[in-house]
C-alpha cells in the first residue's frame, strides 16, 4: 500500500492509474471523480438557479442559508424523503431500472475523461469511441422510463428523445471524426482515439483543434456544440421534457429520489459532453497559450490562477458578507457566509503550496473550461425559445449533418494537401509525358 502512494507522488510516473496498473489508485480515482461529479452537479444546481434568476431579474433561492447556499442540500433531503410513487400499470422493473441505466451510462463516461495527463481513471485506446458509445446508452434509460410509465406524455417524450438523440449522434460523430483526423497530422502519421493522446496531439501541433485549419476546426466545434446540447436534452432542444407541451416528458411519472437520479444524470451528462468538447477542441487540460507563452516565468504566472480564482471567490463572499443586513435575525447567516469565504480563502492558500500547485494546474484549467460550458448551457436556457420537433429534426439532418460531412471531407483534403498536390502533379506530369 505505501508503495502505491509513493509511486503516485513520484513525478516521474507519467501515466494514468489505470495504465500504471494500480487497482488501488484506480479505485481512489473512481471514487474521487464520481464524488466530484456528484458535488459538481449539486453546485451546478445552485448556480443554475442563481444565474438564471439573475438573468431574469429575480433573486433565486435566498432562504436556505445565506444566498440560498444550502438550498441544494435542502433539495437533496427533500427529494430523498419524498414518497416514491410508482404508477399503477407501470412496468415496475423497467421503471425501477431506467434511472439507474442513465446514471450508469453517464458515469461510465468519466472513466476516460482526462482531467490531466495523469489525472484520469484510465487512458483507453478507444477513449473517444468509448465516450460516444457509452453516452449514447443514456437514451436507453430515457426510452425505458418513458415506456415503463404507461402514460402518454412520457411515451411521447421518450419517442421524441430517442429520435432526437439518435439523430444528433450522427452529426456529433462526424464532428468528432474530423477532430480525430487532425490528430493524425503529427510526425508519426498515426492518429489516436485516446483522450489523452488527442490533447497531446494538440500540444505537439502547437494549436487547439478549434483553430486548426481555420475555420474548419471552428465549424466542427460548432456542430459538436449544437449537437451536445441536443444530446443532453437541454434548452433550446429540451423537447423530451418540454414542460409546456409534455408536462415533464419522459420523467413525468417519476418522483422523489428516482426523479433526482434523472436530474443527476442530466447534469452529469452535460459535464461529460462538455469535457469531450474541451478535450477535442479546446486543448483539454492545457492552460492558454502553452506554446506561445512558454517558459518558467509564464508557467509561474499561470500557476497562480487556481489560487487567484479562489481568492476572488473569497473576496466576493466577503463582500456579500459585508453587505448582509445588520440585524440579529441575519447573524447566523452572516457568520455562515463569512465562514464560506474563509473556506474559499483557505483553499486558495492551500493551492499556493508548491506541491499542490503543480499537481492541480491541469485539473484547474480543465474544470475552468467546463465551467465556461456550464455557463453557456444556462445562458442558452435563459435566452432561447424551444424548437419544435420537426424543426429540430430539420436542424439535425438537413443542416448539421451535411455540414459535418462537408467539414470532414474538407479536413481530409486540407490535411492531405501536400500529398494531393504531389499526386496531381505527378498525374499531370505523366499525362503530359504520355
Amino acid at each position: 500500500m505505501p508503495d502505491f502512494i509513493t509511486n503516485y507522488l513520484d513525478k516521474n510516473v507519467h501515466v494514468t492509474p489505470g495504465e500504471y496498473g494500480s487497482p488501488f489508485w484506480a479505485l481512489v480515482y473512481i471514487l474521487v471523480v464520481f464524488g466530484g461529479v456528484s458535488m459538481a452537479v449539486v453546485c451546478m444546481n445552485w448556480l443554475e438557479r442563481k444565474i438564471l434568476a439573475h438573468m431574469q431579474i429575480r433573486l433565486g433561492p435566498m432562504r436556505v442559508g445565506p444566498h440560498g447556499l444550502l438550498q441544494p442540500i435542502a433539495d437533496a433531503i427533500k427529494l430523498i424523503l419524498k414518497e416514491d410513487i410508482i404508477p399503477e400499470g407501470a412496468d415496475r422493473f423497467v421503471f425501477w431500472i431506467a434511472p439507474m441505466i442513465i446514471l450508469l451510462a453517464v458515469f461510465s463516461v468519466y472513466t476516460v475523461v482526462p482531467f490531466g495527463p495523469t489525472h484520469a481513471i484510465t487512458d483507453m485506446n478507444i477513449g473517444i469511441l468509448f465516450m460516444l458509445g457509452v453516452s449514447s446508452l443514456g437514451v436507453l434509460g430515457i426510452v425505458m422510463a418513458g415506456w415503463a410509465s404507461n402514460s402518454h406524455y412520457p411515451l411521447i417524450g421518450a419517442l421524441r428523445s430517442s429520435a432526437q438523440m439518435v439523430s444528433y449522434e450522427v452529426a456529433m460523430g462526424l464532428a468528432v471524426i474530423s477532430a480525430v483526423l487532425m490528430t493524425s497530422l503529427n510526425a508519426e502519421g498515426t492518429g489516436t482515439l485516446s483522450m489523452i493522446g488527442i490533447v497531446h496531439a494538440q500540444y505537439a501541433q502547437h494549436v487547439w483543434f478549434i483553430f486548426k485549419f481555420f475555420p474548419l476546426g471552428l465549424i466542427a466545434f460548432f456542430i459538436f456544440a449544437v449537437a451536445m446540447v441536443a444530446e443532453t436534452n437541454r434548452a433550446p432542444f429540451d423537447l423530451p421534457e418540454a414542460e409546456s407541451e409534455l408536462t415533464a416528458g419522459f420523467h413525468t411519472e417519476y418522483s422523489g429520489l428516482r426523479w433526482s437520479l434523472f436530474m443527476l444524470g442530466e447534469y452529469a451528462a452535460m459535464i461529460a459532453v462538455s469535457s469531450i468538447a474541451i478535450t477535442l477542441w479546446l486543448g483539454g487540460w492545457m492552460r492558454p497559450f502553452p506554446n506561445l507563452l512558454s517558459g518558467p516565468t509564464w508557467d509561474l504566472a499561470f500557476s497562480f490562477f487556481p489560487a487567484l480564482t479562489f481568492f476572488g471567490l473569497a473576496g466576493m463572499t466577503f463582500y456579500s458578507t459585508m453587505r448582509m443586513p445588520r440585524h440579529s435575525f441575519f447573524r447566523v447567516q452572516t457568520i455562515g457566509l463569512g465562514a464560506f469565504g474563509a473556506v474559499f480563502a483557505l483553499i486558495g492558500l492551500i493551492l499556493l503550496l508548491p506541491g499542490v500547485n503543480g499537481r492541480i494546474q491541469d485539473i484547474y484549467w480543465f474544470i475552468f473550461k467546463i465551467a465556461v460550458f456550464m455557463y453557456l448551457y444556462i445562458w442558452y436556457r435563459g435566452t432561447f425559445p424551444r424548437y419544435r420537433f420537426d424543426q429540430l429534426m430539420k436542424v439535425g439532418w438537413k443542416i448539421l449533418l451535411p455540414m459535418g460531412i462537408g467539414v470532414l471531407m474538407l479536413t481530409g483534403i486540407v490535411a492531405l494537401r501536400t500529398e494531393l498536390w504531389d499526386f496531381m502533379h505527378e498525374a499531370l506530369r505523366r499525362l503530359v509525358h504520355v
Binding site: Q56, H152, P236, E245, P385, R386, Y387, F389
Partner: protein
C-alpha cells in the same frame, strides 16, 4: 389521462381511408391540469404521431354563473362581478358594463371621467398584452420574457393600486363615471410609465422578433384567414393579424376614443407571428393614446348625475367595447326594476377559442400550445 372519451366521436376519421400505418392514433388529453392551457382548459387531442387530426375543447371548469348572479343583484352590485371574468383585463370589463348600463339609463359619463377611463383601460390593455406575451413566450420555451413582462406590468398595477386600491380586480369605474378623482401625481406617474415602458417593449422585441427559433416556431403556425376569422366570429388582435382592419375603438368609438389619434395595426398572414407583431404594435399604440389622454385630460366632474337607486326603463341594450382579447359585449335587458332582468356577456375568449380546432388541424402538438397561447384566452372569461 383518459384513453378514450365518448365525446371525441366527431373527430373520427373515415375508417376506410386508414392504412395499417395510420392505425396507431393517440388520444391525448391535455388539461385541465396542464402547464400550458392557461387555466383549466381541457383539450382532447387526436394525434397521428405528433400531428393533430382534430381536437375538442372541454370548458366550463370555471363556470360561476355570472349571468345568473347578475339577475339577482342590482346594477351597481353586479359591477364588481364583471372584473372576475377576464381578470387580467378587469378594467376593460368594467368599462364595457358601465357604458352598457349608462346607455340603458340614457346618461353619459362626463368628459373627464371618459378620459380617465381611456387612460386606465389602455394601461390595462398594455398589462394584458404583457401578460399574454410572457406566458406565450413561456409556452414556446423562452423563459425570460415572462419575468421581464411581469416586472413592467407591475408598474401598471402600482398605478391601479394608487388609483383605486386594487391591483387586479380593480372595479375602477362606476355607472355614470368614476368613483375616484385621480390621485396627486397620477399624470406624472402615467407619463413616467410611458417613458419607462416604451424602451422595455423594444427590449421584448429584441429578445424575440428576430430570434430565429421564435420566428420558426410562430411563422405559419395556427394560420387563420380573414374569411375564417369573420365566419368564426374571431375578433381582436387575431382578426387584425389576418388583415381585417377593424377595431371597435375606431369603428364605433366609445368613451373618448374618437378624440385620439392612433393606428389600428394589422398583419397579413394571420399566423402566430403576425398576431405577436400586432399585439406588440398595439401596446405602442396604447401608449400613444395614453400620452394624448394624459396631455389633454379636461377638468370637470367625474360623475354624471345618477340616482342612488338605478331603475333603467324597460328595454334592452347591446353595447360592446374593444377589450384586449376582442369584442367584449354586454346585452342587458331591463324590466324597469333595480335588478337587470338578463345580462348576457359576449366574451371574446369564448368565441375565439372556438377557432382553435380550425387553427390546429394538421399542425403538431407543440403548435397547439403556441396557438392556445396566441389566442390569448382567459378561462375566467370563457367559462364565466
Amino acid at each position: 389521462m383518459t384513453d378514450s372519451t365518448s365525446s371525441v366521436s366527431h373527430l373520427d376519421l373515415d375508417e376506410s381511408k386508414k392504412t395499417f400505418l395510420d392505425a396507431n392514433e393517440l388520444i391525448l388529453n391535455m388539461g385541465p391540469q396542464h402547464p400550458a392551457t392557461h387555466g383549466v382548459l381541457r383539450v382532447i387531442l387526436r394525434l397521428d404521431g405528433e400531428k393533430v387530426l382534430g381536437l375538442e375543447c372541454v370548458i366550463g371548469y370555471l363556470h360561476r354563473g355570472v349571468e345568473k348572479i347578475a339577475e339577482h343583484r342590482t346594477y351597481t352590485m353586479f359591477n364588481p362581478y364583471v372584473d372576475r371574468m377576464d381578470y387580467v383585463a378587469a378594467v376593460s370589463n368594467g368599462l364595457g358594463y358601465c357604458e352598457a348600463v349608462e346607455k340603458l339609463l340614457n346618461i353619459e359619463a362626463p368628459p373627464r371621467a371618459n378620459y380617465i377611463r381611456v387612460i386606465l383601460t389602455e394601461l390595462n390593455r398594455v398589462a394584458s398584452h404583457q401578460l399574454w406575451l410572457g406566458t406565450h413566450a413561456l409556452d414556446i420555451g423562452a423563459m425570460t420574457p415572462l419575468f421581464y413582462t411581469f416586472r413592467d406590468r407591475e408598474e401598471i398595477l402600482k398605478i391601479f393600486e394608487k388609483y383605486c386600491g386594487a391591483r387586479l380586480t380593480t372595479h375602477a369605474f362606476r355607472i355614470g363615471g368614476c368613483q375616484y378623482e385621480t390621485y396627486e401625481g397620477f399624470e406624472k406617474d402615467v407619463k413616467k410609465f410611458i417613458s419607462f415602458v416604451a424602451p422595455k417593449i423594444d427590449e421584448y422585441e429584441e429578445l424575440l422578433t428576430t430570434n430565429r427559433i421564435w420566428v420558426e416556431r410562430t411563422k405559419n403556425v395556427g394560420t387563420i384567414s380573414a374569411k375564417d376569422c369573420i365566419a368564426y366570429g374571431v375578433t381582436g388582435p387575431v382578426l387584425r393579424a389576418s388583415g381585417v382592419k377593424w377595431d371597435i375603438r375606431k369603428a364605433q368609438p366609445y368613451a373618448a376614443y374618437s378624440k385620439f389619434d392612433f393606428e389600428v395595426p394589422t398583419g397579413q398572414n394571420g399566423d402566430t407571428y403576425d398576431r405577436y407583431l400586432v399585439r406588440m404594435a398595439e401596446m405602442r399604440q396604447s401608449l400613444r393614446i395614453i400620452q394624448q389622454a394624459v396631455d389633454g385630460i379636461p377638468e370637470g366632474p367625474i360623475m354624471a348625475k345618477v340616482s342612488k337607486v338605478m331603475k333603467p326603463p324597460v328595454g334592452e341594450i347591446y353595447h360592446s367595447i374593444e377589450a384586449p382579447k376582442g369584442e367584449l359585449g354586454y346585452f342587458i335587458v331591463s324590466d324597469g326594476s333595480t335588478q337587470p332582468y338578463r345580462v348576457r356577456v359576449r366574451p371574446p375568449s369564448f368565441v375565439n377559442l372556438q377557432a382553435l380546432d380550425l387553427m390546429c388541424r394538421g399542425q403538431l402538438v407543440a403548435d397547439v400550445i403556441a396557438v392556445i397561447g396566441t389566442l390569448d384566452i382567459v378561462l375566467g372569461e370563457v367559462d364565466r
